[in-house]
Amino acid sequence: MGLDGLARLHGLFAAYKPPGLKWKHLRDTVELQLLKGLNAGKRPASEHRVRFLLGPVEGSEEKELTLTATSVPTLIDHPLVRGPAFTSLKIGMGHRLDAQASGVLVLGVGRGRRLLTDMYNAHLTKDYTVHGLLGKATDDFCEDGRLVEKTTYDHVTREKLERILSLIQGSHQKALVMYSNADLQTQEAYEMAVSGVLRPMNKSPMLVTGIRCLQFAPPEFLLEVQCMHETQKQLRRLVHEIGLELKSTAVCTQVRRTRDGFFTLDDALLRTQWDLPSIQDAIQSAAPRVAAELEKNLRPGLGTQ
């Protein structure tokens, strides 16, 4: 099972990173669990070797020891001599999440690591839910950072917030068109922009393609953000800036990634599911979707250069 298990372990899968866990620890834990599963499988049968051993010959009168040829298993492949069959696995990481953020994290095993680069080059958007708290400002925009300022927030209403959000979306839309290097005078680029497919296919600063308010219960509010080329710190800074625009202050209490490209929360594996059979199943079920999406995104003609 060891080698067959390894054969089925090539591809992409998504794990749910809980808050408080560093992404590197997650990768190391997944690697350890996979190695445990692979080493528990059957090893290939050991080779035999002919050796001449001393032994009594049956049916002879004298009690003499003579050499007889016997086939003995060699000890080179014995598990207690060689050690475990698998000692390391190559696992690659998709878009990173910092320690306090949580959510969908894409990992690639074996040949799937090449698909990770393809996924990066496809420049797909990601979905986040961001929880914010009005009334205070800290130095690192998180709730437990050093407090810088405290303000009132009674004057903040849902309409004001939504007005600010639409302003942000508008300005990012302009930046989106600029960074995609598309000439909007052409029919093709115009159609793409209308259908929402237009996006930059090379490096650019953080771009928010969509932002809306899901819940507003002062002092807390919940935003849903679709963005690309972001880091979680920039998302927290966004919350801070929204607070400033509202003439109050805000910090970010939780950043959670709900979708990374085509991997959603339903595909993400929880901590209890980080073992060999669940990961193999996840890779199998995600494989057709991954292939279809990457094929669609890397087809020539869709690039906006």
Partner: protein
Amino acid sequence: MFTCFMQTFLELLQGVDLSKIEKHPDAANLLLRLDFEKDIKQILLFLKDLGIEDNQLGTFLTKNYAIFSEDLENLKTRVAYLLSKNFSKVDIAQMVRNAPFLLSFSVERLDNRLGFFQKELELGVKKTRDLVIRLPRLLTGSLEPVKENMKVYRLELGFKHKEIQHMITKIPKMLTASKRKITETFDYVHNVMCIPHHIIVKFPQVFNSRLFKVKERHLFLAYLGRAQYDPGKPNYISLDKLVSVPDEIFCEEMAKASVQDFEKFLKTL
């Protein structure tokens, strides 16, 4: 040549993990220089006499292969010393099995260690003996972390001496746990879950469990409104059950929800 030597080794004692011994730099030299008749056989017979079974010898020797270079007389003196301290033969066999390096320590060192634990913990002679039998690693490991942890429990976490004694007799592993883990666990349990000292003393298992498990389960119960840790009130949930039961029983009995709901909740954290 090494393979031929290993064949005799393996035929006699199944279970010695040579791949692990190979990782130590001087092991190979030591083992090849031994003569079977003189050194190995006597020490093996001595260990079997002590009460270690054949199948347990394998794991023992994987950890402490250097025991073959010890003098048989020294080993006998150390066992006699332990017997004189009223450890029974069965207890000594169990201690040696759990802490393979025990017999490689000299009598003075063992004496110092036992004396330290008796003075530091101020438990009676019998309780110290039971503690050491349960966790013989205390005698073979370093003493600095234990001193550090005792200070943490007393000064930083604010437990009284009697409370620390009670917790240690229940969970001896607390003495060797890492300081960061202890402080983080206590911080969460005392400040976030609002559990007072006297209840933590009754359930010290919470220091032995993973912090993320405690956090996840507590947040789920709080979300459902079932986070009741006061024994006086109804629907009380005890700390030891919170950390020790598997997920299915936790969901069914304490949270009264399904495992799918728990998983959905975990994905919202």
